[in-house]
Amino acid sequence: MNADMAPFVLSVQLAAMTLVVLLVIGLPLAWWLAMTKSPYKPIIEAINALPLVLPPTVLGFYLLVFLGPQGWAGQTWTALFGQPLTFTFTGLVVASCIYSLPFVIQPLQGAFERLDRRMVEASLTLGASWPRTFWRVVLPQARHGLLTACVLGFAHTVGEFGVVLMVGGNIPGETQVLSIAIYEHVEALDYAAAGSMSMMLVVLSFLCLLPLYTKSRKRRRLLGEVAA
């Protein structure tokens, strides 16, 4: 593979993996947050929103300590799989999930809160189980929130820098994502390479955001069918 393309591919892989994990965790968590009357809800919401306000270096530092060989998460992971979490691609996925969590949870939670509850009730009274109701009614009804969550979760992960640098370092082919590679090229005063990679990031981010602002009927139908 072209050396210039490797960070790009790695960034896309990282963002895709992170998004899949975040959807698996985020859909039930966002549903719970939208429906619960638990007194713990504000605490969970505040913790979820922390990555929005903390400097990435602070988050990265705690993640480094937490996921590192001395941290309990790092130790547990190493005991289970025989590999460290820090300075590996897997570590980057874990860190990115925490960093991008609010960008996935908040649009989903908002969409679930705006959902017409009677649709859910109609599905249940028609004999559909909860999983079927969620898949065939809730998700299609929340499709705009789902799309926003996917786009923001993916794009935010592609664009992350501080957390990646702290947790993953700069290992070509393993943890050197696009933003880190750009930084390295700038440090080496290779502005041509930095420029072409930056343009890749701009184009990728633009392509990610475009569907959010395209309200074509075709896309809506497609999304409805995918969820059904």
């Binding site: 009730e121 004999g127 189980s129 065939r136 059904a228």
Partner: protein
């Protein structure tokens, strides 16, 4: 065992639902009541969308809720069809997919069932359309087909005609009536509209303050509402408060009446239908009053009479019957056999409701 039995209480903040009643199987029971009376909550309780604090719900002898046994059958395992006020159609699916949603079994059977329902509801050309693109009447027919396609034990309808007006409503009422009778359905329909009730209901339940204050055959309820709230709800205007009762006689500031049965202060009001009242030219015959106005309503003439204390009575006469001119002093006669005694139902429990499905339920449980 057939029918719907509800004996339950439910608390929602300051609102309390307390219903003890059996709804007969087959035919339409209209649940009338003002806003906040608990009509929709009752339907939601039967469907399992609300949980009762205490009590039982049983349909056709099958227990769906029994708090004593900690039994709660979730809505998806109850055989109900629920038609929501503005239908809650799935706009991300086609009309056909909406109707097919609750169907089970082989694909071919489901497709045939959908085709049958599309034809039955005159929606043949609309199967592939999105519900968003349909008119109000068409949406209502889709919702009805979707709710009935699963062949539910009971069909619950929450204000099904509130979004529809005029001529279309009467067509839809006829359609609904035909579908329901065709299939011997048990239907509970919440409404606040008396004319809808007259058009379709076999039985009427009236709710007030979270309680069912009257339940009976439609003609019986229209003839004798028994509860003051029920009389108001079905549009009775001739209501006079009872202040004293002695033997067969009762009265108030408006005058006094002799009944053909013992009077009692349990009934705080008397009521009478406007077509039952007689007007005599001689003010001494009956309650002395003055004709205030005469209005024409198609085949009916409405005569408004004012009694000595200012209370109003409305009298209906045929359009060709002689009527006194406004300002005339007349005697208003309330024939004893047509005078109804009305208790304030929300504070007095009416024991003789239609409890048949519940009593058999109790025997089955015992």
């Amino acid at each position: 065992m057939k029918g719907v039995c509800v004996q339950a209480t439910l608390q929602q903040g300051a609102f309390k639902l307390d219903v003890q009643a059996g709804f007969a199987a087959g035919g339409v029971t209209a649940i009338l009541g003002g806003s906040g009376a608990g009509k929709s909550t009752l339907l939601r309780l039967i469907a399992g969308l609300e949980k009762a604090k205490r009590g039982q719900v049983a349909v056709n002898g099958e227990l769906w809720l029994d708090t004593a046994q900690k039994l709660f059958v979730p809505p998806q395992r109850r055989s109900v069809g629920f038609m929501f006020q503005d239908y809650a159609l799935f706009d991300h699916m086609s009309v056909a997919a909406n109707i097919a949603y609750g169907l089970k079994g082989p694909r071919k059977d489901r497709e045939h069932a959908v085709e049958r329902w599309l034809a039955r509801m005159q929606l043949e050309q609309l199967g592939t359309r999105s519900p968003e693109t349909l008119s109000g009447g068409q949406r209502q027919r889709v919702a009805l087909a979707r709710a009935l396609a699963t062949d539910p034990s009971v069909l619950l309808m929450d204000e099904p005609f509130s979004a529809i007006d005029g001529h279309l409503k009467s067509t839809l009422l006829d359609d609904l009536s035909a579908v329901v009778r065709d299939q011997q359905r048990t239907v509970l329909m919440v409404t606040h509209n008396v004319s809808e009730t007259r058009a379709i209901a076999d039985n009427i339940g009236v709710m007030a303050g979270g309680r069912l204050v009257r339940l009976g055959r439609a003609d019986e309820v229209f003839d004798d509402p028994r509860a003051y709230e029920a009389a108001l709800m079905i549009g009775w205007q001739n209501l006079l408060p009872v202040v004293w009762a002695s033997g067969n006689r009762l009265g108030g500031a408006w005058g006094a009446l002799d009944l053909d049965r013992p009077a009692s202060l349990d009934a705080a009001w008397i009521g009478i239908r406007p077509e039952r009242i007689r007007i005599e030219a001689e003010p001494g015959a009956g309650l002395p009053s003055t004709v205030k106005a005469v209005r024409e309503f198609g085949p009916i003439r409405e005569i408004e009479c004012v009694l000595g204390n200012g209370a109003r009575l409305i009298v209906h006469k045929a359009w060709d019957a002689p009527v006194p001119a406004p300002g005339t002093r007349v005697g208003v006669v309330l024939p004893a056999e047509h005078v109804r005694l009305l208790v304030e139902g929300s504070s007095a429990f009416l024991a003789d409701q239609m409890v048949a499905p519940c009593s058999t339920q109790k025997e089955a449980l015992a």
